[in-house]
Structures are given as C-alpha cells and as structure tokens.
Amino acid sequence: MRRTEVGAAALLVAGLAAAFGTASDGATAGAITGGSVLGLGVVVAWFVERRVRAWGYLERAEDLLVRRGLFVRRLSVVPYGRMQFVDVTAGPVERSFKLATVRMHTAAAASDARIPGLSRPEAERLRDQLASLGEAQASGL
C-alpha cells in the first residue's frame, strides 16, 4: 500500500504562512502572530498528516480497495469491471507540488473512490492500469 504525500505539502504551507505573518507586521507583534500561526499550523498539519496517512489504496486482482478517514472510517471495494471512467485531475496547488488526484466513477453516484496526492507518474500509471483492467472485466448495468 502506498501513502499519499499531501502531508508534507501541508507542513510547507503552514511554515510559509508563519513566515508571512512575521514579515508583514512589526517585530514583537510579528513574532506573536507568527508564533501562533506556526502553532496552529503545526496542529493542523498534525491532523492533515494523520488524515493523509489513513488514506491508502490497494490494487487486487479484481477490485480496488480505497481506505480513508480517521473520524469516520471508510473502506470501499470497487470492482474494476464496474468502473465507468477514470479521471485524473490536478488543481493549481497540486500542480505546484507535482501531484494529481485519481478518481474512479461507477454507475452508482454513492461509490466515490478518490485517491488524492499521487505523484504524476504514479497517477498516470494507475489511470492506465484501471482503464485497461476495467475494459477487460467490463460488465453491463
């Protein structure tokens, strides 16, 4: 199982926010705001880090398992044959860290299997893999 990599990104963003806080105001005020932002950032980063580490996927012979969530834990089993289409998206933030999100769609609206924060080559490999497996095992509605 692979881990996603958004956690590191979140830490970086928190650090940047703290630095910005220090620079924009006076020395003492800047230190206080910067410190609190940094503290908050660390706490948020800790949550994000844990959330991200809970996110995982496993490719099996006939289906894909996607696990996510800490507070509400979910584990989806999506057979390849049920996949209607796969899309890979990368927003501006994701793009700047060379990451992408792979999302699988089945005919059921409720089965939302999403894997964020994959490296670009890994996302493309997964997409092609899913598409070819989906085609090989496709079944009707």
């Binding site: 509400v72 089993v77 089945t106 509605l141």
Partner: protein, 437 residues
Amino acid sequence: MTQREAEGELESGGWHRLHPLSLLVRTGRATIAVLLIVIPSLLAGGHDFFPLVFVAVAVVTSTVAWLVTRWRVTDGTLRIETGLFRRQSLRFPLQQIQAIDTVRPGLARLLGLAELRLRMAGERTSAGRLAYLPEREANELRARLLALSRGQEELTPEPAERTLATVPVGRLAGSIVLSSTGLSVGLGIGVLVTVLIVAPGLVAASVSGGAVIYIIGFGQALWQRFNSGYGLTLAEAPDGLRLRSGLVQTAAETIPRRRVQAVRLTEPLLWRPLGWVHLSLDIAGSQRRHGENRAESRKLRQILPVGTRRQAGEVLAQILPGAPAELSRAPRRALLKSPLRYHWAAWGHDEVLAVTTSGRVTKATDWVPLSKVQSLRWVQGPAQRRLALATIHLDTAGRNVHSAIRDRDVDEAGEILVGLTEVCRRARARERNDGAP
C-alpha cells in the same frame, strides 16, 4: 390507414414525423390558460391584446419545432433529429434501453395521441421523447423497440401478459388519507374550520388566506399520488413488467426485468394495522431528467402504491425469485447508537440477492440483486467505533434505494465485506455467462 399499411410504413425504416395534432397538445394548456385570462377582459371592453402575442409566438415556435423534428429506426438504433438553429441528432442504441413509457396527458387522450419516453441509463439532458404519436402507432413502436432491445426480430408480436396485482380505488384513497401528507391536509382543514368557528371575521379571513394556499399545495401533491396510483395494474410479460395507471394523465411503462437495480418494500406505521405495504423498484438513471418535473423524477417506480402483504409477496416472487427469508439481527449494543433504528436493523443474503431491513418508524426492506452491486463501502463513524460496530453500504446504479447493512459487529462486518465481495463477483460472472447484457 389500414393495419397493413401502417406495418409497411413502420417496416420501411424511413423518416417519420410526429403527429400534426401534437401541436395542439403542446401549446394547448398554455393557450387555454391565456385565453381564460384574456377573453373576460376583452368581453369587458378592454383592448389588451398583448397576451395573444404570446399565444401566437408559442404556436409559431411549436409549428417550427414540429416541422424540423423527425425520427427513424435503423440498425437497432432510434434516431431523432430536431432543432432549427441548433440541429440535434440523437441516437439511442436500443440494446441499452432501461425502460419505455407511454405517457398520455388528458388533452392527448382526447385526441388519441400518446407520448413515448425512452429511459436510458445515466441520461441527463436529452431524454428520448417522441411527443406525440397516434396511440396505436405508439403501442406498436413500443413493442417493436422492446423486441429490438432484446435482440429479437423486429416485428415479433407483443408477448401476452399475466396480471399480477391491481389496486382498488378505495384502498388507494385510504392509503393516501393515512399518509403523512394526507394527515397534514386533514389537520390543516381542521385548524381552518376551528378558526372560522371560534373567531370569524377579519382575523379568520387573513389566517385562512394563508391556510388555503397551504392546503392547495398539499392537495396537488395528493392529487398526483391519487392519479398515478389510480387503477394501477401490474402485469408480468416475458419482456418485463408492465405498469398501467392514471385517471386523467395515464402512463404505461414496461420495465425489462434484468434492469431492476433494487426493490424496496415500505410499511408505514399507520398502515401496519391494516396490513398494507408499498412496493417500489429502482432502475438505473440520473437523479433528474429533462422534461420531467421534480416530483416525477424523485419518486421511485412505485409498482404497488398500496397492497396487502400477500400481494407484495407474490409480486416479489415474480420479480426476484428465491429471496432469502432468513435474516440476522444487529447486535444488541447497536441499540445505544441508533435506538430507533435498532428494532428493524437486520440483513440476510444468498447467492443472488441481499436483503436489508431498516427504518426508524417506517419499516423499509430492500432487495438488491448482487449482480447489480456497483461497489461495497465499509463505513465506521466515531460512535460506531466506540461500540465496535460498522455499516456496510451496497451501492447500486439506482436512483433512490440506498441499501445498507447497518450496525454490525466489526469483526462480522469485515467478514461480510470479504464474503460479499466474493459473492458479488460470482453473481457478476454468472450474469456475464448467461449472455444478458
């Protein structure tokens, strides 16, 4: 036109137009409404011809729409071409039809016309509508399209059918009165009458003004339920389930049996002493479709708006033969997490079907063919984690039934997930081998 000629024309696969009178049906309602407003004012000596311009515009646009719309059936697809400025050519592969409906609004019935609606999976913007065709032609075309969708000869006669259930008017009326909408209307009327008796006069008038609107709104909803359930006949034929109903606007639909994604049986609290149940089924499709109003699309296909338990059992045996009877209950500690739900939470499965029951006040039982399950989801909320419980959702392509095995022991849920994945795989493989698309 004789029968022979009509058949020859259908066979040729050439382009057809819709019936000319469909203009009248399409613009009819709006025209009548406008005329009702205008004529009195004209009679009163007014010179307000402006609304008539709207009528003229409506007539012209629908005439143009009629002129540019044509359809044909070739190579197992239905093609509809329409549009003047923005040409649209729609193709409907008949192999993928989910269901075909014949809808006949009141005005169309008077003129002997009917509308055909093709239901495709996942269709969002361009529903296949042929409005309107002469009634007999619509019926023939429907039989033919259904035959094509099964991959049979084009002009196979429509197979004979066997009636499964009908709904008596009295029971339908009773069921609507005992529903939540019915009770609210009753309450509204009660309040209105009380106010009129206790405090007649200005206060009462203003209060009742508000209440009247409220009652009209609910009355409309009740009327819709009554109309859609009136004289409902459910019949079984080799090509699927046939549903026929309606008092003013009639609808007839045929649902191929292998398109059923889930079946739901509900037993509202107030119906339980009478032994009445409601049976509906879910087919694939998007949440809302062009050309349908909200109420129509949000509803499940009710195949038995109200029936006895025995009737429902017979129908179920026809649609989903061999449903497992044995259900296992959720563990007792689930009572802490969902005190109201616990009473009904249970599930069971065999090689073909999964059954889940749930609901707080209204008991709902869902049957899901395992070969239709799109994905399985194991979900555990914080409260469930503390109690070592988990819920498993069965996702299907249906619109409305969300079947879930609620509040099972964590270890058991894990086993269910693994076991069901395997059973679903086998069910899918079996369906593929049967050759059914």
